[in-house]
Symmetry: C2
Amino acid sequence: MELRTLRYFVAVAEELHFGRAAARLRMTQPPLSRAIKQLETELGCALLLRSPTGVALTPAGVLLHEEARALLAQADRVRARVTALAGPVTLTVGTLADSAEQFGTRLAAAYREHHPGARILIRESDLTDPTVGLRAGLVDVALTRTPFDDTGITTRTLRSERVGVVLRTDDPLAQRDGLRLADLAERRWFRFPDGTDPVWHAYWTGAAGDGRRRDGPVVRTARECLQSVLWNGTVGLMPLGHALPEGLTVVPLTDMAPSALVIAWREADATALIRSFVRIAETVHRATDPARAG
Amino acid sequence: MELRTLRYFVAVAEELHFGRAAARLRMTQPPLSRAIKQLETELGCALLLRSPTGVALTPAGVLLHEEARALLAQADRVRARVTALAGPVTLTVGTLADSAEQFGTRLAAAYREHHPGARILIRESDLTDPTVGLRAGLVDVALTRTPFDDTGITTRTLRSERVGVVLRTDDPLAQRDGLRLADLAERRWFRFPDGTDPVWHAYWTGAAGDGRRRDGPVVRTARECLQSVLWNGTVGLMPLGHALPEGLTVVPLTDMAPSALVIAWREADATALIRSFVRIAETVHRATDPARAG
DNA sequence: TCCGGCCGATACCGCCTCGGTATCATTGCC
DNA sequence: GGCAATGATACCGAGGCGGTATCGGCCGGA
């Protein structure tokens, strides 16, 4: 008799209909039927009277309905009191703010729902810091993308994304359905300011930092990078599957390793709150993305 | 935050030692550590302070300890009240009483522990009724062995046992480590009274009822069968692995299908109480037998 | 100072539970 | 009598959970 099972039973007892109860629980009907049957088996008495027209409660079912509601309410109070005792907590999240905007908002919403007492601060970084303040200690957990120097940092991959080159639609190469880095060797490449994470810089400038890249414009944000494509004809790189301004196209790069959208935190101080954030992030991402919807 | 997890936490909070708490919960330490860690992750706050010398509770842990105890107590009361509402219930169990004596007692004990309000009656049958009163409606559920005519009856196998022939220790064949039914063709075979289940009768008399078996003694119980071996030199059959009186040996039969120890009940009236009994039986059997200890 | 024992954490594995899809059986209704 | 609705069943794949083996870190004693 676990709380999950009682939640199932309460839903059925109130809907008096397995299908509607399942919908309310955001699941399907067969596992709900099975769970209720197992509950009856465990208690050793019938709780529901099934009929093709619907469901009725037995006396034991009526009693369990009331008691289960009270028990679930008490469980909620317990959880609230215990977390409240930990005091008002603030979690600072760093984000690259390029790709995961709507996912970030969903994530923040889910996190607030799960921890009503916690404050969550968002700190957006530009493209020059792939750890988005994590290494500097400015944030507790980061929503960013690989690759970067991850010594002392733990990451959990949410999804892996292929990378493409952003070109003006009138570019001769824009019609191709795939390009290699060599095809762009003669173009002007952007670069990041000095001090940018070397792994990160080498990746996004398309090669292990051969000197030729040095003459391109310096960019700090995705917007600057795209503007540079439009105005200066430099190449830009970005993950596939994201919206682009008018007049720009993205062509997949076939010889570039994918970049992963990750949750990152410092190994040293993985508090329960941070682990909770990571877990919620994984759950939310899986619930919204797996069919590439998020 | 399920009740199972809270039971784990209460154990750790009271023992202040993962190893002892795990022993109290009859589990091992690693999954307990993991479960507690997951609980802390879910709540988003630390409950325990670990150290190599032991464990201490945080303030949140102290609070959760009290609250969880209360919650678990309430859950127990709910369960008791709901099952009590179903009224005093009697479950009649039929048993063959040959092999599963100690298992039967453990099973009855576990069942009483799980359903304090229920009465359980044991009805022992002799070997002439393999359904031990189930088909006659005398019992609700049967602890018996195959094979028998199971039309209208559902069975769950607990374990499958090879069958051997019981011989006097001074019998010429008693030293063999395996026999075939043909080796016993010339012996006198026991038989069951008329009206015994035909499938059952054919199995235990060693063949599909060829007429020759007709001249042996009629037995109704395992004791009678063994006595007939001692006094009349008839053959006897029984599952391997059971205790035998002095002066008797059992030799495995290599060409006889195994007999299964089963829980059986009438499909038509599988109440929650009966299903509960079946489930408990399977659990108890698995907990005590799998290494052939029960 | 080093070694051994104790304790919790981690890694990894196999089973079983759980939720999903597809389908069936029953019943009431038009 | 056919059809729609409802719950039950069969089956499958992923994930959770408990198990074994092992690690790392701290303490106490020689």
